[in-house]
Symmetry: C2
Subunit: 256 residues, 2 copies
DNA sequence: AACGGTATATTGGTACAACCATCGCGCGGC
DNA sequence: GCCGCGCGATGGTTGTACCAATATACCGTT
């Protein structure tokens, strides 16, 4: 029988993945200038003390990420991330090597989020099915039960948003949500945000769900805008607090 | 001397890339069900008549794209694209094997575009520098010169949008634009859209640039919304025409 | 009969070695 | 001065062997 269900086992740390991570950081931090040629595969292999195959597999991953261009007979060339990179790279840009957070990029992400979520809500209100409204109602009840358990609450929030993204019936937004949601999850995991609890009330969310049910696009978008703006302000003040307390979680914007 | 400037030479078609493409399509078309295990590396190697290393490199690329999860000792497992995939996969979803276009996904993309562009314009109006306004003015002049040359005009449009994305000073939107812009370029290359010419007038764009210069967020967003909605309607009617003429460029939404 | 641990087969990970295909640059001929 | 050939550098492919993690089957214990 064909094996099924690979569980959620963590990825085994392999040499290949380690080299990949090193190279990604090197590119993102400009060790290899945009457009310039990387060392040859053989040189990298020697440098990292691994076989050439390991380096090659790592480079293939970078190629798939759009970080390098590989051309036979010539070499491997670093790409300009901001000019050719895709959204999948954002996670790498926001989080540093030791899971620290780049402050400027964080601001930009929150600005994006504040525009993105209302758009999704608009589409969700337009295209939602009755089933999805039911799903949201159920998620709302789950939230009520989990109101005291912060980590769990975050999970519930993200699942609600996923449902909304599905209700939007738009592949693009769903994919963007997959990217952004991963970032969100990592953010809340990385930051001890115990002081975030009472930002959003159960009534507000119920109001929002009702707007979706009645397909009131404008109202749904407006409510979402208010909530995201408030969350944004809250995170900003929290960041302020972190900076004053000298936390190492945040790295100032170091530009090139 | 270290070699520089790798030119724009097209990627050499290699066995590794071919296998990658095959596997990507297989996953996206559900040949391997979401969550199920793919054939072993050795089996795939035999199946495609290549060495195991080639298969491995292809699989690394899929892994980087988020299409599969690889776990040593167990196997390679297909992921559910809509649940875990990132925006970089959209291009693969929209375009089929022979550069045909999935109609439903196209609709969704246009809906996204109509919401995305105004958001970017809003941020651009908020954060633009004087230099970037100058860049836009210059691009506008270039556009005037290229008004008759349709392919060239498309290029100019995308470059203007890139400038706007940069003016937004937001990494997220810039990365999303990189994804979406690639799709846009491919769309216009794939579709013979000679009848698209007179959609947007020079005056309208000038108006938009002025709004950016004066940092009138609402006006910029509003104008952008009008333009994108018009473009959307135009494309829709064009698709209608294609369907009636029995073009093979479009594939009806074939769902699973 | 139910449970747990060990042996074994399966499968991905790494290594070394050799050779092919393509590209770029320089040398030499025209 | 320009063109073309060829050589060296570099990525692409193959083969084999072995290592490491995982999954399964088997067997003994309880």
């Amino acid at each position: 029988m064909s094996r099924q269900a690979p569980k959620d086992s963590h990825s085994t740390p392999t040499a290949s993945r380690a080299v990949t991570a090193r190279l990604v950081r090197n590119i993102l931090e400009g060790v290899y200038g945009a457009g310039s040629r990387l060392p040859t595969e053989r040189e990298l292999a020697e440098q990292f003390n691994v076989s050439r195959h390991v380096v090659r597999e790592a480079l293939k991953r970078l190629e798939a990420l759009g970080l390098v261009r590989i051309v036979q007979g010539s070499g491997v060339y670093a790409q300009d991330v901001l000019l050719t990179g895709g959204l999948e790279l954002f996670e790498y840009l926001l989080f540093g090597e030791r899971n620290d957070v780049n402050q400027r990029i964080l601001d930009e992400f929150l600005a994006f989020w504040a525009l993105f979520v209302p758009d999704v809500l608009r589409l969700a209100a337009r295209h939602r099915t009755r089933e999805q409204v039911q799903d949201l109602r159920e998620a709302l009840r789950e939230r009520a039960a989990a109101l005291e358990d912060l980590p769990c609450l975050t999970q519930v929030h993200l699942r609600m948003l996923r449902t909304v993204a599905q209700a939007a019936h738009n592949t693009v937004y769903q994919l963007i949500f997959n990217n952004a949601g991963r970032v969100m999850a990592r953010l809340r995991a990385a930051v001890p945000l115990a002081r975030f609890s009472p930002i959003i009330t159960q009534e507000e969310l119920a109001h929002l769900v009702a707007a979706i049910e009645q397909q009131d696009e404008e109202l749904a978008a407006l409510l979402a805008q208010r909530l995201t703006e408030r969350a944004r302000a809250s995170v900003a003040s929290f960041v302020q607090f972190l900076l004053q307390s000298g936390s190492e979680l945040l790295t100032p914007a170091h530009e090139g």
